[in-house]
């Protein structure tokens, strides 16, 4: 599904040049649950952003489903994103002006799903995530765990092929964190590919492979469970 070839990302300011990704080669097969680990500043999130097409590489190649993404115009990349990817962030990134229901519904508006279908799908997800009773609440009225469940629901509402999760449990207590990880594991079990950045070995072990990074490079790849 994903293959990169010497992926480089360099951040420049007037005085400093930081290499966040230094010739990274990764490949992720469909159905994998891959965790990316490493110390702060090692380039995990940058890798996630580049693979999620919300940041562009400085050089190197990135193939998504066999297509070179780096060469695509922004509009095309938006399209790929819209139909294939779902994001879960550490800080939830829910839109404050929208209710729980509306936040989850949002991606389907952009993919022009008919209203009746949208309603059905959102309700189904709210039921599954146990947030139905909060449907008309705004994000600030929810607990962290509830917010992250809404975020996960939003990420999966369009049934994406790949979910990118950036420290999804980073802002949650262990109980809520556990719940979110279980949801991700279930999604993976249903066939969704997951790429997750995490600091937590515990969380990483929900996946079947761990990529370890240091100073912008991939140092080791541990296989936890062989993907079948």
């Amino acid at each position: 599904m994903i293959r990169t070839n010497k992926l480089v990302k360099v951040y420049r300011t007037d005085e400093v040049q930081t290499t966040a990704l230094n010739a990274v080669d990764v490949s992720i097969a469909e159905g994998e649950f891959v965790a990316v680990m490493g110390p702060s500043g090692c380039g995990k999130s940058t890798l996630l952003n580049v693979l999620g097409m919300i940041d562009s590489p400085s050089s190197g190649e990135y193939f998504f489903n066999g297509e070179e993404i780096g060469k695509l115009p922004e509009r095309k990349r938006s399209d790929v994103r819209k139909h294939n990817l779902g994001f879960v962030f550490q800080s939830f990134n829910l839109i404050d002006e929208l209710t729980v229901y509306e936040n989850i519904e949002l991606p389907m508006l952009y993919t022009k799903v008919p209203a009746a279908q949208r309603k059905k799908r959102v309700e189904e997800l709210m039921e599954g995530m146990n947030i139905m009773h909060r449907r008309n609440h705004f994000p600030q009225q929810l607990s962290g765990g509830q917010q992250q469940r809404v975020a996960v629901a939003r990420a999966v509402v369009n049934k994406p092929k790949l979910i990118l999760a950036d420290e999804p449990t980073g802002n949650l207590d262990s109980q809520n964190g556990d719940e979110v990880m279980k949801i991700l594991a279930d999604l993976n079990a249903e066939g969704t590919t997951i790429l997750m950045v995490t600091h937590s070995q515990y969380c990483a072990e929900f996946g079947n492979r761990i990529i370890r990074m240091l100073d912008g490079q991939v140092v080791t790849e541990n296989v936890i469970r062989q993907y079948l």
Binding site: N49, S78, D79, V80, K82, H83, I95
Partner: protein, 809 residues
């Protein structure tokens, strides 16, 4: 959902939404009011269906003083035009007059009913072709015959109702014009709309004019060009204007050359299209109201400036707050929303703000409609929101504001890189560039506001200068009124004067053609001394009796006033006359004679000190005052200080006693003079109103920006306070950035303000010098306003508990 989102977002940011809607709403209200003025003025005379084919014949004169224009046509030329100009399918001779009107008493002893003239209204002597040119709506009578015979008039519906109770009752009734001419109502037409430069209340037949030659100065002479004698025509086709003018050029060619001292025609006739009648700066019209298109452009420009300022607020606040929306934009982008879609979303949001602002603007404009009279002639009752044009304009304004205010912020917001947006580092990456744009817009806003303040101070100073300037005569405590100068009335003038002087309130009474300063001008060619060649410029003339200097407090520079006489034998001249003729000492002119027109041997008995015979727009011109009793029609009564209302009543009752059949209409002379400067008053009012609005809009924008800056820097303020900074220091730190911008604005606005106001002042022959303090005051007002607004926010931020702001991190 989008709409809900926008409303929720506004509810969360009430202050900023309020500033945007208030600023834009006020800006739109100003634009709407100016639209109403411009629309109203541009709509003038369009009530006539043949508007684009109607022309007025006018006269262009050449002299050593330059070119001048007059709507007059000599009576013989009037008769020559129909044959000479075949391009005109209809020609109507017209003579303006402003009669007093009464309904005669009946034999059974019913007293006559007298009616005051309604302002503005004008009567014309004219002929049936008038109705072929100007379509009027007939209620009674036949347009072909109504003005055929002597003594026939057509009146408008409201006058018919005023005179006879109903228009139906008016037909074939008798009216008396100027106490002399008995006429019969042969037709009633609907009133003309107020936006028409022919505010007709009556049309009288041409034969009536000829029958009343003496009363209405019928002068059948090529040399006599009276601005009340006019000709209107109808072109077969508007494109024939040029051809018609070429035919018209032949009219009077020979006669004007014969009358001219150079032997070459000094006059030629031109055509003024009806569409120019309201906008000419050279030619007046019967409504005595013109407005140049330049003035309308200035007004429209002011409207654009005000609206632009309000849009700048929106741009500034939206981009300043962009970082607050970074997360939302990042999320939307990760969901695959393209730049174009986001752009449309943000423009949609701006459109909602625009619609709300337009609603507020309409409400404010509706409320402020009565204020329009302070800056324009638009009547309060003129249609406004009922007009489809107004609504079309509102749609246009909504779209324009949406694009003007929304486009730049939309481009900025939609351009966020999603990864950066989610990390909220947008501000850090791009803040420098946007801050520059914001600062420029604030500078521009304050420049405009300061320029308006400079304009306001200078117009008010010039008006004060005009009002307090020694005009060279007294304008206070003088009551003036016109009387009929038919031989019957003139015979009783001495009786009237004696009756007036018996009243304890009255100090002096003078009969004359005009008060010292008036809109009228009598001019003649002249020679000084009598046996010299005619001077190459015309002399201004006033005719007045010997009580004139006492009544108006004129001061003599040398010699004495002339002796009483019915005709012109002696005269006084002014100092400007001596300067122009090279006479150094006033005494040297005494006893000299001059020739006026063809009349030689008029002895100069005195030199009167210069006074302003016109408004202070014009320099004091050479002037002669002499006697000519049969020309007088104006009476001026000087009263003692005290109860002025009682004095006016005493004057009116004396008049009524002597002339029971005549209509009395008196005015205080200082009020008449004040009306000369109506235009300047309006300009000053517009400056004041728009200046206050500009400052207000700039300040609320600054309020929003500074409150945002304070919020954004809450953590910095917290840290500084923890490290020991005081409230004053922090306030200064935050305020400094904004105050700097106002100072830059001042540097830009001061020279621009000086330039434009200096140009405006050039229109006055007598004017103030622009003082340095004007700029200091304007700058200080802007600075104090800005400082107060910014301080309000920054002091609050500086006083906040640092623990709070640090904890929020």
């Amino acid at each position: 959902m989008q709409f809900k989102f926008i409303l929720r977002s506004m509810a969360r940011n009430k202050v900023y939404a309020g500033i945007n809607i208030l600023g834009l709403g006020l800006g739109i209200a100003a634009v709407l009011l100016i639209f109403q003025v411009v629309r109203y003025e541009l709509g003038y005379n369009k009530n006539f269906s043949r508007y684009d084919r109607i022309v007025r014949v006018v006269t262009q004169s050449q002299s050593s003083e330059g070119e001048s224009w007059n709507p007059c046509v000599p009576i013989p030329a009037m008769f020559a035009i129909p044959d000479a100009v075949p391009e005109l399918t209809q020609v109507a001779r017209m003579r303006e007059f402003w009669p007093s009107i009464s309904v005669p008493g009946a034999e059974d002893g019913t007293p006559p009913k007298k009616f005051l003239r309604k302002d503005p209204s004008v009567a014309f002597f004219t002929e049936p072709s008038f109705f072929e040119i100007f379509d009027l709506e007939w209620l009674a009578g036949d347009p072909k015959t109504a003005l055929r015979d002597e003594g026939s008039v057509v009146i408008i519906r409201s006058e018919a109702e005023r005179f006879f109770g109903s228009w139906q009752a008016a037909m074939n009734e008798t009216l008396v014009l100027d106490n002399v001419a008995r006429v019969t109502v042969r037709g009633v037409v609907e009133d003309l709309p107020p936006d028409c430069d022919l505010p007709i209340n009556m049309l009288a037949s041409w034969p009536t004019y000829i029958a009343q030659q003496a009363l209405y100065y019928y002068d059948d002479n090529w040399g006599s060009c009276n601005s009340s004698n006019q000709v209107f025509g109808l072109l077969a086709d508007a494109s024939q204007l040029g051809a018609a003018e070429r035919s018209l050029a032949k009219v009077g060619e020979k006669q004007y050359a014969e009358n001219s001292s150079t032997g070459k025609a000094d006059k030629t006739h031109r055509l003024q299209p009806m569409s120019d009648l309201h906008f000419s700066d050279k030619l007046n019209n019967s409504a005595f109201r013109t407005i140049t298109k330049g003035r309308l452009k200035v007004l429209s420009f002011i409207a654009l400036l005000i609206l632009g300022m309000a849009c700048f607020n929106f741009i500034n606040l939206s981009t300043a707050m962009a970082s607050q929306r970074a997360k939302e934009i990042g999320v939307r982008k990760t969901l695959g929303v393209g730049r174009g879609q986001l752009l449309r979303q943000f423009l949609g949001e701006t459109a909602v703000v625009s619609v709300l602002s337009v609603a507020l603007g309409v409400a404010v404009a509706r409320l402020c409609l009565p204020l329009l009279k302070h800056i324009s002639d638009v009547p309060v009752e003129a249609p406004f929101l009922s007009l489809p044009q107004t609504w079309a304009f509102l749609v246009f304004v909504t779209i324009a504001v949406t694009l003007l205010a929304g486009f730049y912020p939309a481009v900025v917001l939609a351009g966020f890189e999603p990864a950066g947006a989610l990390k909220n580092s947008v501000g850090a990456v791009r803040g420098g560039h946007r801050a520059w744009v914001r600062q420029s817009l604030v500078v521009l806003q304050f420049s405009i506001a300061i320029a308006f303040i400079v304009g306001t101070i200078i117009t008010l100073s010039q008006l004060h200068f005009i009002r307090t300037k020694d005009l060279g005569f007294d304008q206070n405590l003088i009551y003036t009124f016109y009387y009929n100068n038919d031989s019957l009335s003139v015979a009783k003038l001495n009786t009237l004067k004696n009756r007036l002087l018996q009243a304890p309130e009255v100090e002096a009474v003078s009969y004359n053609t005009d008060p010292p300063s008036s809109g009228n001008s009598w001019m003649s060619n002249f020679a000084f001394p009598s046996n010299a060649e005619d001077a190459d410029f015309a002399l201004q003339i006033k005719y007045a009796d010997t009580d004139y200097p006492k009544t108006f407090g004129l001061r003599m520079a040398a010699g004495k006033w002339y002796d009483p006489s019915d005709t012109m034998k002696q005269a006084v001249v002014n100092e400007a006359f001596l300067r122009k003729m090279g006479v150094e000492k006033p005494e040297d002119a005494i006893g000299e004679d001059l020739k006026l027109g063809g009349r030689a041997g008029i002895i100069i008995t005195g030199v009167v000190q210069d006074f302003h015979a016109f408004s202070v727009h014009q320099p004091i011109a050479p002037l002669m005052i002499s006697t000519q009793r049969d020309y007088y029609y104006n009476a001026a009564v000087k009263v003692n200080p005290g109860d002025m209302a009682a004095a006016a009543r005493a004057i009116e009752s004396a008049f009524d006693e002597v002339y029971p059949e005549q209509v009395f209409e008196g005015h205080w002379y200082d009020e008449t003079i004040a009306r000369f400067y109506e235009d300047e008053n309006r300009f000053a009012n517009a400056c004041k109103g728009f200046g206050v609005l500009a400052i207000f809009i700039a300040c609320i924008g600054l309020f929003g920006l500074s409150s945002h800056a304070a919020a954004r820097r809450a953590k910095e303020i917290g840290i500084r306070k923890v490290l020991g900074a005081g409230t004053a220091g922090i306030t200064a730190l935050l305020a400094r950035d904004f105050i700097k911008l106002v100072l830059v604005a001042f540097v830009l606005a001061a020279p621009a303000g000086w330039y434009f106001m200096n140009r405006w002042l050039q229109d006055f022959a007598y004017r103030i010098d622009i003082q340095w303090w004007v700029f200091v005051v304007a700058g200080a007002v802007a600075l104090v306003g800005a400082t107060l607004v910014v301080a309000l926010q920054t002091v609050r931020a500086a006083l906040a508990d640092p623990v709070e702001s640090l904890r929020s991190e």
